[in-house]
């Protein structure tokens, strides 16, 4: 079985990190995984996205044009990528910045008010981790414990940030709603 997903937003939102945490979790589970960033003449505030492909067999093409799962962290990403999601797929949108829906009836759509929750926790910097919590809830991809382990591992040198990130992942997981 192979599973693919695309994380999208603008530069500075921690989009690439969301994909990296999922990729690290896949590695810890012993899966094959490929993480591919969008790269080009980008700048802060420009578009950013990454794709992650996870499988039990070696990953063939790591380039995904039509993902099964999309996380849209801002409005332009929603407009650009929601029509590319495969029928039967899933979209998670950051309702803080994405007021519209995909207008698609052939997939399931979820939302999370990631910016509001992150601000409530004290810093907008954990918006991506809130959304990641929502993503593991609606995709069922990995357990909360596994993602906690990865955050512990990645933030071992920045203990001051660990607690708020752990709160963010839990708040995101419980606040994710189907629309």
């Amino acid at each position: 079985m192979q599973m693919d997903m695309m994380f999208t937003g603008f530069g500075g939102q921690g989009i690439l990190m969301m994909g990296k945490i999922i990729a690290l979790a896949a590695l810890k589970e012993g899966k094959e995984v490929a993480w591919v960033p969008s790269y080009g003449p980008e700048m802060r505030g420009g578009t950013a996205y990454c794709t992650v492909v996870i499988g039990d067999e070696p990953i063939g093409s790591p380039i995904i044009q039509n993902p099964m799962n999309l996380v849209a962290m801002n409005q332009p990403s929603m407009e650009k990528f929601s029509q590319l999601v495969k029928p039967g797929g899933m979209i998670l949108k950051n309702s803080s910045l994405v007021p519209v829906s995909s207008h698609r009836t052939d997939l399931t759509e979820y939302e999370i008010a990631a910016n509001e929750i992150a601000n409530d926790l004290g810093t907008v910097k954990v918006t991506n981790v809130v959304a990641l919590g929502a993503f593991i809830e609606c995709s069922g991809i990995f357990s909360l414990d596994l993602i906690r382990d990865i955050l512990n591992q990645e933030l071992s040198k920045k203990p001051a940030l660990l607690d708020i990130n752990l709160q963010a992942i839990e708040r995101g997981k419980s606040a994710c709603v189907s629309i």
Binding site: V33, V36, S61, P62
Partner: protein, 360 residues
């Protein structure tokens, strides 16, 4: 050792250090600048040399100089930068100085773009610099393979006293995949005292070691070129590396593809198989020496009606495929060279079109 998740570029830098190379001279260029960035931090940790030169030309002559002095040395660049280094690469080949070059290819010609491409196949395998020389060329299709090829490149460069080049592309450089650095590929630099400019070969020598690429006297240039030719012939016997996919079937068509493009082809072959169409693939891992006999044997299989070279270029490797197939099967080419990596479905459609055009 447990696998770690690393970007291709960073893994390449780490692989060189693990392989015992402690000298890096380079100049940044997208999409491989992370190699230099990584090594600028890592080299001091292992008491190695990291130097950002003032240009690719300078960096490549530092490589030549350090190699002539007997050091294990490497540099990395991307297509336009490799063009600038090509003069020094020719000098290294002529003077029989081992060195490792990594080309994380971007679209060209000219400044081109910064996205993945395989447009430097001719440059790496047929020329680049001037004169009668070849590089040993390896092309990885994953981060893990890039690591292993870098680690193998240093002993190979020393075995042949010839430059080795790793031909990656923007995707290999930018992608993160799980990697490990195999202990069995760790090597120590060979003894170069018989030729390197570190003094005389032995205490009793009457002449100092001299590294040169200028041969004016008598038959010395002819002799040097004969010596180089013998090494390239030996590479053809001993260094060919090749992988295959779905080759045990009675495939109707054969794909020949390397690097990133071969991964897209692998997915396309899986899709075709589900539809009842068998397509095999040969994936050269060394582009020079080219796996002539392996491609030929696979192409001439009775079930195979047509051979297609799939490339991120406007048709370069296809010339080698045509050469080895020798007209016994139709050879076609499919490629994209604008920095776009095609979807597997595009390969599927092309193979259906090709098979339809070449009915049994």
């Amino acid at each position: 050792m447990a696998k770690v998740l690393m970007k291709g570029n960073e893994a390449i830098g780490e692989a060189a250090i693990r392989a015992g190379c402690l000298n890096y001279f380079g100049y940044p260029i997208t999409p491989q600048s992370e190699i230099a960035e990584y090594l600028s931090r890592r080299m001091p940790e292992v008491n190695g040399m990291f130097l950002q030169a003032e240009s690719e030309v300078a960096a490549s002559y530092m490589i030549f100089g350090a190699s002539a002095a007997g050091e294990r040395v490497f540099t990395t660049s991307s297509s336009p930068g490799i063009s600038l280094m090509s003069e020094a690469i020719s000098y290294c080949a002529a003077a029989q100085c081992p060195a490792v070059f990594v080309n994380i290819m971007r679209g060209g010609p000219g400044l081109g773009g910064i996205l993945p491409s395989q447009g430097d196949y001719f440059q790496a395998t047929k020329g680049g610099g001037h004169g009668d020389y070849h590089l040993l060329v390896m092309a990885p299709n994953s981060v893990q393979e890039a690591v292993e090829m870098v680690m193998k490149a240093f002993p190979l460069a020393e075995k042949y006293r010839n430059p080795v080049i790793i031909l990656g592309d923007g995707l290999i450089g930018q992608m993160m995949e799980p990697v490990e650095f195999p202990d069995h590929l760790v090597s120590t630099p060979s003894d170069k005292s018989s030729w390197a400019t570190s003094g005389m070969a032995t205490r009793k020598s009457t002449q100092r070691n001299l590294v040169r690429s200028l041969f004016l006297v008598g038959n010395s240039l002819e002799d040097n070129n004969r010596c180089l030719k013998a090494k390239y012939d030996q590479m053809k016997k001993e260094e060919i590396q090749c992988a295959d996919y779905n080759i045990d079937t009675d495939y109707e068509a054969l794909i020949v593809s390397y690097g990133t493009m071969s991964r897209v082809c692998r997915t396309a072959i899986d899709i075709l198989k589900k539809e009842g169409i068998e397509v095999g693939m040969i994936r050269p891992q060394t582009l020079f020496p080219y796996p002539d006999a392996i491609v030929q044997k696979a192409a001439w299989k009775p079930s195979c009606r047509v051979v297609t070279s799939m490339e991120l270029s406007m048709g370069q490797m296809v010339e080698d495929v045509e050469r080895v197939v020798q007209g016994r099967r139709p050879v076609t080419w499919f490629g994209i060279a604008g920095g776009i990596v095609p979807a597997p479905e595009e390969i599927v459609d092309e193979m259906k079109r090709v098979l339809h055009a070449h009915q049994s």
